[in-house]
């Protein structure tokens, strides 16, 4: 075995050093030794993305992107295609698992200050990924051409239309000069693919940026001594592996035992341009932004506020004026940030309910807090907040 495989690996190594690169980046790569399980969610998102792409390719082989055939072809996949129901379940469940992982992943980044120098680009590529994932998910949701697909697309394209300057041409290009019909469906199908594979490209960028700066850790203190870090393998391969098993168990529980809870039943009725379903609600992962859209009694205002709630995240590395990374050592932020997470969840809940009374006010309060946090608390809190003393090393026990 040894001599020939050695010479082969040397031959390869001399021409394309993939083996040493893999070893450097994924085997020996130095990781802070104190990462908690929240650091698993990036791996979760990667696995969910992989399963989405894989199942998506196989779904595409049986799907027909025309107005008359799309719904029937999805029904055929669910009913008649061998294991089609399972492939589709993996795809549908995967979206929710991906979004859930991303939201936790981003929340962790906010909590431990993973966006601060020198990791700004890591943060920005991550947000770029989020936008691409959202676009892909939206495009994908239209493809089955159910009632929710059709009316969700109608609402979003009309919203797009109301954007100043770029709105009208963008919507026109998407629709191809007619209403929401065959041309649009075909374009949205292609868009779904293009953005899906761009996500893979962005993941490469994101991981490359990660491997320049290295992982942040719960203390926010950069590793200093050699024994502050451990090699990725076997420490984090086993830890990620264990986390992944639990993640996949949740995923499996969802697709095998609760496939209905994450999808809206109305999408099992074919699109009917003459009848709007009674409650149009978006999928849960869009619900927070949908709630913001409806919280404002102005078309453009709601749109800008919803888009801005994501946009403001891009500015976070420069909005946060505190030199301390981890919220662990910031007594006020440690309370303010979990409230932000609660506000996000409240917005999600509000987005799934009719925008009246209680839920309308919940969403207004939550969106106000959202902007308050990013535009006031992040820049000005450090002036009044006295951080707790930082430990001298990331290995110091929490106290």
């Amino acid at each position: 075995m040894t001599e020939r495989s050695n010479s082969l690996s040397e031959w390869l190594e001399a021409r394309l050093p993939v083996i040493s690169a893999f070893r450097r980046e994924y085997v020996d790569f130095a990781m802070p030794r104190n990462l908690n399980y929240l650091w698993n969610f990036g791996a979760f998102a990667t696995i969910a993305l992989g399963l989405l792409i894989l199942s998506g390719i196989f779904l595409a082989l049986n799907y027909t992107p025309t107005v008359t055939e799309a719904f029937a072809s999805i029904e055929m996949i669910d009913r008649q295609v061998s294991s089609g129901w399972l492939v589709r379940a993996i795809h549908m469940g995967g979206v929710s698992m991906l979004f859930a992982s991303l939201y936790v992943h981003i929340g962790r980044g906010l909590y431990y200050g993973s966006y601060k120098a020198p990791r700004e680009l890591l943060w920005l590529t991550g947000l770029g990924l989020l936008l691409l994932v959202m676009t892909t998910a939206f495009a994908g949701y239209i493809l089955p051409w159910g009632q929710m697909s059709y009316w969700g697309a109608t609402v979003v394209i009309n919203a797009l239309n109301s954007l100043p300057v770029i709105g009208k041409p963008l919507a026109a290009w998407l629709l191809g000069g007619e209403g929401l019909g065959n041309t649009a469906l075909h374009r949205i199908y292609v868009l779904h693919f293009v953005t899906a594979f761009s996500i893979v490209g962005f993941v490469v960028l994101h991981v490359a940026a990660l491997h320049v700066a290295g992982s942040n850790n719960p203390t926010g203190i950069e590793p200093a001594k050699p024994d502050d870090t451990v090699p990725f393998h076997p420490y984090y391969t086993t830890k990620d592996g264990l986390g992944l098993c639990l993640f996949l168990m949740v995923y499996a529980g969802l697709i095998f035992f609760a496939p209905d809870i994450l999808t809206l039943a109305d999408n099992y009725a074919q699109a009917n341009p003459l009848v709007t379903p009674r409650d149009i609600t978006p999928e849960w992962y869009f619900a927070p932004f949908y709630a913001i859209l409806r919280a404002v009694p102005s078309k453009l205002g709601g749109l800008l506020l919803a888009a801005g709630s994501l946009g403001v995240l891009f500015a976070v590395p420069w909005l946060d004026a505190s030199p301390v990374r981890s919220a662990r050592y910031r007594p006020i932020l440690r309370i303010a940030l979990p409230i932000l997470f609660l506000a996000f969840i409240a917005l999600g809940a509000a987005g799934m309910h009719p925008p009246t009374g209680f839920w309308l006010w919940i969403s207004r309060i939550a969106v106000t807090y959202w902007y308050l946090y990013f535009l006031i608390l992040l820049p000005y809190l450090p002036r009044v907040e006295i951080p707790k003393p930082l430990p001298s090393s990331l290995q110091e026990p929490r106290g």
């Binding site: 085997v27 020996d28 791996a43 990667t46 696995i47 992989g50 399963l51 894989l54 199942s55 196989f58 779904l59 082989l61 049986n62 055929m76 996949i77 009913r79 008649q80 295609v81 061998s82 294991s83 089609g84 399972l86 492939v87 993996i90 090699p231 393998h233 076997p234 391969t237 086993t238 990620d240 592996g241 992944l244 098993c245």
Partner: protein, 218 residues
Amino acid sequence: MTQDGAPTSSSTQCSSGKGGTRRRDVLATVTAGVGCAGACALAYPFLDSLNGTRNSRVGEDDTVDVDLSAIPPGQQTVVTWRGWPVFVQRRTAAMLASLQAPGAAQRLRDPESKILQQPKDATNWHRSVVPEIGVLIGICTHLGCVPSYDTPSPADQSGKYACPCHGSQFDIAGRAYKNAPAPYNLPVPPVTMVSETHLRIGLSKGDPDFDIANIQQI
């Protein structure tokens, strides 16, 4: 998924001692094996979905009835059965004679139809259930083109099939000529004569166990 199988290779750390390393290596190997098995199992639904709706189509009654009264002697009509073109010919006495002409067999690759390309009740000199009616699947056994039918002419009363793609030639019973690329005779589908003027493709009364999927080549 690969992550499941990732903690595979032996540790890069130097072993920390005694019996622990060995035990962990066994455990690591078992875990990796189980993880890889899971990844392989995951491939099943994806690959299975490539079967399309095939497995859910049961009891499909795929027979085609052909009215023979509309076919003049020496001519053929083409019907589709399972998506394949099927030639149904009414043979003249001269065509039948040409099949048995002395010396004809020497020019054929498989004159006796020994290779399984037809049901048992068509394994005969005329490769059909009744001599006057020939039924062939019109797919060249070379590379799958549809051979064209040369109707009998005063010069050549036997008629034949010639494949436009690579020049394969078949006699009127679909037997492949030597010195041409097609290796096997044209397939004969299962056929039952319902009456003098009607035949049914897809069902063989004389060879009920015949399955077109089992023939040498289509």
